[in-house]
Symmetry: C2
Subunit: 363 residues, 2 copies
Amino acid sequence: MQTLTVELGSRSYPIYIGENLLSRTDLITAHINSQRVVIISNETVAPLYLEQLKLSLTEFNCQEIILPDGEQYKNATTLESIFDALLEQRCPRDSTIIALGGGVVGDITGFASACYQRGVDFIQIPTTLLSQVDSSVGGKTGINHALGKNMIGAFYQPQCVVIDLNTLKTLPARELSAGVAEVIKYGLLADADFFSWLEKNIEKLMQLDPQCVSYAIQTSCQCKADIVASDEQEKSGRRALLNLGHTFGHAIETGMGYGVWLHGEAVACGMALAAEFSARTGWLCAQDVARIKALLAAAKLPTSLPDQLSAKDMLAVMAMDKKVQAGKLNLILLEQIGTAVMTHSYDRALLADMLTQLTSPGQ
Amino acid sequence: MQTLTVELGSRSYPIYIGENLLSRTDLITAHINSQRVVIISNETVAPLYLEQLKLSLTEFNCQEIILPDGEQYKNATTLESIFDALLEQRCPRDSTIIALGGGVVGDITGFASACYQRGVDFIQIPTTLLSQVDSSVGGKTGINHALGKNMIGAFYQPQCVVIDLNTLKTLPARELSAGVAEVIKYGLLADADFFSWLEKNIEKLMQLDPQCVSYAIQTSCQCKADIVASDEQEKSGRRALLNLGHTFGHAIETGMGYGVWLHGEAVACGMALAAEFSARTGWLCAQDVARIKALLAAAKLPTSLPDQLSAKDMLAVMAMDKKVQAGKLNLILLEQIGTAVMTHSYDRALLADMLTQLTSPGQ
């Protein structure tokens, strides 16, 4: 087992990475401070891993809340159902809530934990590659709104993150690819060597070679932990670099309707667009754009926009991005593979032109 | 004008107290960091003070959201309507939200500000005595749930608090009394001299004598600011002392249905019950209980439970209080006037007996 630490002063916490961690009673219970535990999971993950986790928590008064599965349920209605259940079960403020599932379960559970009685302890047990390398680390929690993804939420850090590599064995291929999109993101924005490693090892990673998977997750989590430690609430701009591909990606997700494209798929396409726009802005060479698209394709990820979206739709959603400051949308672009920058100094007409060219004619 | 400071390191902020502050453009604009301002108020306060405030903000792009008036609207439905409006108006993350109104407006606006895009700046402009001396200071924000008051919320500090004493001139007498309940609370829990001053000056305070009002508000805010600075998130137990009367009070509010009793009325009755129970526990002398009830009565506040509530109802709601730890309900009791303590070492049977005696027979 590997242990990384997210360094946030009094709110620092460990990320445990290894096999069979769901059964490590000692690991999990060290972070629980009372008798009351509530596990929040979903209809897909609960049948696979809930009983195993509960066997590690037999010393606690342990209840569960099972949510429907899908990004389209990451909303105020589901959040309200969690509050109803917590209050009906009379959970006190010293309860610990455990998120067992992918990014949707982790984001909504973290936000519910942040708000319930103004904040109760919570633990992240991410069971998808995407949530293991990205959403479970760093304290961004929240829900979607019909007018924008993750528009309602909180910065709220967990007590610990427990990454059991075994859970990836039941992950559908499409979701594995979606997770690899975020892994590739770290190489692109901060670590050219890791990007090269991914180019060499993408086949083994997609086949869940244990050493490759473990290395990719550790490297990704370390990158994220470093960035979060330096800019927890996205104030200096450094944390915003983690949104590479996300402004385009969120526009795809919102425009298509939540749950139609997986988040990682939308981010993959978003990174291809960010690379393309970086090249058109004169920052990135065409060869690097080709390398990026090739790696995404090798991970079975989309690199072109869905037919249903128009440039106008995309730009309308992008105007609502959280990175809008003083009326200007900041974009995360690439200077080279391994170096991302946030900027609002780009040619808006060029952006509109590119999106018009890359969306279907007649839309 | 007086300026107090809530000392919270990088999140410290000033409380301005004085007359005509709504017109002090300089004061308010110093705390706004972009062009976008949203004022949230309610149907009662907006006709009285919204235009005056907007005249101080003519240099900004200023929009407004008007809520229905009443504790019964401090809920998830109203919160959702605020998010809808903010997103429809395309408010970016660097917007500033201003709460113009009483405790309900301040609490729900603060919570909306905490959650919208994971946190935007907000300013408290409390217009009732209760919100001026209590809810606008200290960063407790939130909404009610059918199963408990303030059960969903966040600790989220404002940029500043602007207390314009002129706004009290339009306050209904019943709401003035409700505010005085929280003023009396500070004397009871922390300052015996202030309690004595209130006994001498209660008539002048109720008649809004300017010097008396100003002194009462300053003393109350300073007491609250000191306690919040020492225990922002209610972890050491010191901040919990501010909940004197609130465990009983919340049970009355929740049991009667939100909005039937004013919050301050319920807290007044709750403080009378806390005093009575402190006496039955052998801590407070009968004479002090009589002084407390006399002062509350002089402020035209209730000191006995409503007929509709049974002891059983009260105890059921109290079991859900946020001060429940390790299965035990902590109560704030009085050792003497000016000295409150939080304790779970009390006789539960004695509590049930007292509530049974003080609620109507047959309920």
